[in-house]
Symmetry: D3
Subunit: 261 residues, 6 copies
């Protein structure tokens, strides 16, 4: 690299540092966060606005922000796959199914159906099917009901079926597998709107569930605004870094100056 | 929900019940099934007609029907993936490969090649590769032969390779993984047209193998007509329920009235 | 077809007729529509609920309902393509660009930018680029702003660029072509929130724009509830017919009995 | 290129020439074709076998063979697009719709429905919609009926709608556009099983219609066996040339030796 | 928007302005460009490096830079479609085919084959097929030869066939249509490495042809370094703007401050 | 099969045998390989030419050639998935990350960043993340740096995130899973350009890493030319066999005559 180019690059980095430093001062300081929290309390940020913002922030940034603020891993594993590329956020509506092999109780799953019928716009259906990798916890009928009620999506720790139909109506589902089977006669409803452990992550009713092409993350309701603000800053930094890395062709310099990977 | 709407919905449900009750009377009754079986015997439903119908019914319904009529799980697991979205049905042509690590017998797999060459239109190639997740049990050459002979598709409990070529010729394959390896020098032909256990499901030569975007199901030949009839009824019910759920936005009511999930 | 089967089919058709006739009585009558309109006025169906319902009804049914109620063609042509499979509905925010070849006015397009900044959740950006098939009327920057403001999507009678970025952020755009060019120095803002003729369809500010995999349709705001109700009935009929046609294998009988194609 | 490599390449080419020359002697000679035709007559090659072979030969080769044997262009234009990647062959079942704008005759399209109901396994529905680029000549209901009756696919000189549903059931359709509109009240049935001009190609009832990712070609029934045989030879030559070109990296030498492009 | 937020946003914008102003000073000034050109002459930037950089810059930015520096439209229209999503750059190797309907000259296209055989790594094949929308100017054999010789891709003002094979080998082609036909007996080679007008754009042998998901652009060789530098600056600005727009949710402010749309 | 057809087929097979036998004589003999190696030494085949050839040969053939020549399994398992269909080859640049849970060392991963910054055109980034299936070893920032430096691709024994961005810039990555998490604070750089065991395969710095739709294979640098030559012969044989199998419809005869499966 000739000297002139190096001179130019140094200046760019310097500008970047200044840029980010000022941004950090403006956005990242404790004072700002406190002020905003105050504003939030008085102004009453609605749930709608909160979800709208969660729909625009990256799941990876939400996961990082959660880890930084709470020290907890709140993302689902690589086993959780979407039926098609999607991006949604909503409030968790939880259901738990337990094995009850061979039962012939026609009402065994009624609690699940009631739980579905009680959800509405911005619900995300989160269901744990005990040992359910090869059992379709949901299919086209349940998906049609959720879509008709306005659910944002569904996350199943278990299988899914009728995937052609779910793709046809465009209802987004994450699940651990695709199988043609049924839970009827094999499972029993064990509760809804209770804490469940979905693919290793504790989900409480009303938690925010956000999903995009990187996976699924769960945000405790009480931390939602704080996590969002930090995640937005992380997105801003990361998106600013792309252009700088393209130009300098050095990730080391970029990370050093921006202070994050 | 206002009263009028509720009144309307009740009527719809009532009509649905009537509708389904009559359908059930017409289609589902023992008498009908017996009559149809009789008709089948005399009329001699051809294999072609049977497969044509299996190509149009959903694998999930076939799986449910099998379970209801036989109490057996006959579907393959979420490990079984298609190379591309497909839908086919045919008669199983089974092959078993056993490990014979390091063999240099050029004829070790000849039995497999012979088995392929004996199949024809409407065959589905079902091969079990012992511990074969990282061994390509089949590739482009075998797929070309099967396509040239008119096979409906292939189901491999093991890996597959040459997937770009298989997609190019549009030959549908389900397998448990994609790997660039070969079975040559590692495996030995251990029999064909014998019962095999493919991804946990017993497959006999001549069983019907049906596959769609929800997975793969195996139907014993002797049960094929009975299972088909029940699966068609299940499809009919399920497809009828979609419109009702969209309108009532309640899965609970729909399931109660239609009598199925 | 043997006699028994014919008997069964006749009964199914009869039941279908009864079913639909009663549905029609319940849903389709003038009295019902009037009652519902009254309910709407008093109950104050919100815009949110209206859009939520439009997001769940098929564009084809909306187009048919519009034609039946107003006698007008309100759908866009086959020239209008989505960047990816999508489904959305929102209120039109209209912009018109006129050719001004070679202008060097840096403010020539400012009105367009202002129009974008005034939109919000549930806006659909509708822009007509005069003779714009080979001019990218919008790209990644405009799409980022619309996504950040919560727009439902965009419909451009003209080209689009930065399609990889728009797919990355998942912002849905319909346009008549993909081109790498710019409107800067070639076009001038000619007004916003005015009636425009987009791909042959008149769009007024605030009209409902609904899009799915079949295309784009525009619903005058004053007709929105009426059209929605009829479109929902059409969806219900059509979705009910699928199961019946599968079973009877006759579209003629189905159409005769259900009274629609 | 060093001398040794050149020597090797020359030998490969020489072998190829020999190879192809012998193949041509075996397959391409007049004597062979005559012999085969005789065999066909006596052996009675069934329609099923003919279609099975057409499903395995490339549409491009069929088009070339047709042109060589008949001097006619029998392929459809680049305007004809599939809803999804597919490959099928079947016998044409033709329908013609003519404009009858604003008609309110409920029976205007009954002839079309009857024509659909008369088709069966291996039919390909070929419909011309006069000036129909922005009119959906077919949709989900008609596709469901065709699928239920076993049709191989459909080719519409006009639009198509309900494409999400058609993809869901996997029924392959070629059309000139996707639009949400209807032909009802705008068109009248003008005949079936008559010669139609579909996207510029004359199609007679019973002609073979073959489609793959390169498009659609129509083969007069009387030429079907002759065209097939030549197309298979063309496929064989072309597929043999791929490996040779990869190795020699010269298309000129390959074309000179194999005698075709 | 409350006052605090406004204060913060103002600062961010101010920083952005400073950031970009300095960048512009560093990169955009006449002095810098002149210095870099000098450096290029002495340092001898190789063709490889030039192409490597063109592979990483956006086609839309190249098109904008060309227009700004030369006042010419050098991008191809929306009629030009890729067979699959791709991104490449290389030096144009031009060929022209003219109609010669019904010729039976076996050497009519030999010049084209020779032209293909003379290309190598980093060639882009650019061929104009006179009135060729429904004629496949190239197919799998020509694509195999180009791939074997290392071509970056092909751009055909005309049709293409064997698209399944071209996708299988991953050779990127832009064309105006997919058709199963052939140019043999219909066209005659009319020259290579001469200026051609491809989809409205003049292409000279050795021009840089760059393609991505937004389309195809052609850069005269003499302008290549200058255009590249400006396009890289445009990319940098645009990519910097994404993060700012996400945060401020205003495209108007962003465009005013960054000085570009 | 009638006698005539059998006669024809026998001749084809005979020709094939002759064809292949001569090819083998020309290409496969020890003498030829030795001669070519000599040529290579003197002619000095560049790395560029080597990689260009590896980009055109099938990964499955490379894997088979490696196994035949070295007796070692050098392909990665079915756990390794690409973010999108791709094909690349380059020289391995290796990195190892070891668990260091909860570290707050801002320099813990600096070695990784330095390793990235030292790569260039034709590098393939190969990183092992200890127990890293649910940790994103790389994301958009690292991918942007690699793309800016010209890397051919990346192979991660661990997770990946920012997949929408990586798809947008078209940078090819193979990984064992998609997760939204980070390695920061959980891992520490443990070395680069050292031998690593990636998904069970030993990779040394500078080894050739080739990837296509069948997976990933690693070729020791010292064997690269020898393996390439054999893999090319395997490709040639396999590609020649496709046409023969299509015609004879027998894989057994083809395998017997060509001497390979």
């Amino acid at each position: 690299m000739n000297k002139f180019l190096h001179f130019v690059k140094s200046h760019i980095i310097a500008v970047s540092v200044l840029f980010i430093a000022l941004s950090a001062a403006a956005f990242g300081g404790t004072g700002f966060l406190r002020a905003q929290s105050a504003a939030e309390t008085t102004a009453g940020f609605s749930d709608n606005a909160l979800l709208a913002d969660y729909r625009r922030v990256e799941v990876a940034s939400v996961s990082d922000a959660l880890e930084q603020l709470t020290g907890r891993r709140m993302y689902m594993s690589h086993r959780m796959h979407p039926l098609f590329t999607t991006k949604f956020a909503g409030f968790a509506r939880t259901v738990l199914l337990k094995k009850d092999e061979g039962n012939s109780d026609p009402a065994a799953l009624n609690g699940m159906l009631e739980a579905i019928d009680q959800g509405s716009t911005d619900s995300v259906y989160v269901m744990v099917v005990e040992d359910g990798e090869n059992i379709a916890g949901m299919g086209g009928l349940m998906g049609t009901a959720m879509a008709a009620r306005g659910y944002a999506g569904a996350v199943i720790d278990g299988g899914v079926r009728d995937v052609a139909y779910l793709r046809k109506i465009g209802f987004p589902v994450y699940a651990t597998g695709i199988v043609p089977s049924t839970s009827v006669h094999h499972y029993r409803f064990a509760g809804s709107q209770m804490p469940v452990t979905c693919d290793g992550v504790t989900v409480n009713a009303g938690d925010i569930v956000a999903a995009d092409s990187d996976g699924v993350v769960v945000v405790p309701r009480s931390k939602a605004q704080e996590v969002l603000t930090l995640a937005q800053q992380m997105d801003f930094k990361e998106h600013s870094m792309y252009a700088v890395i393209e130009q300098t062709k050095s990730i080391l310099e970029a990370v050093k100056k921006f202070g994050r990977l």
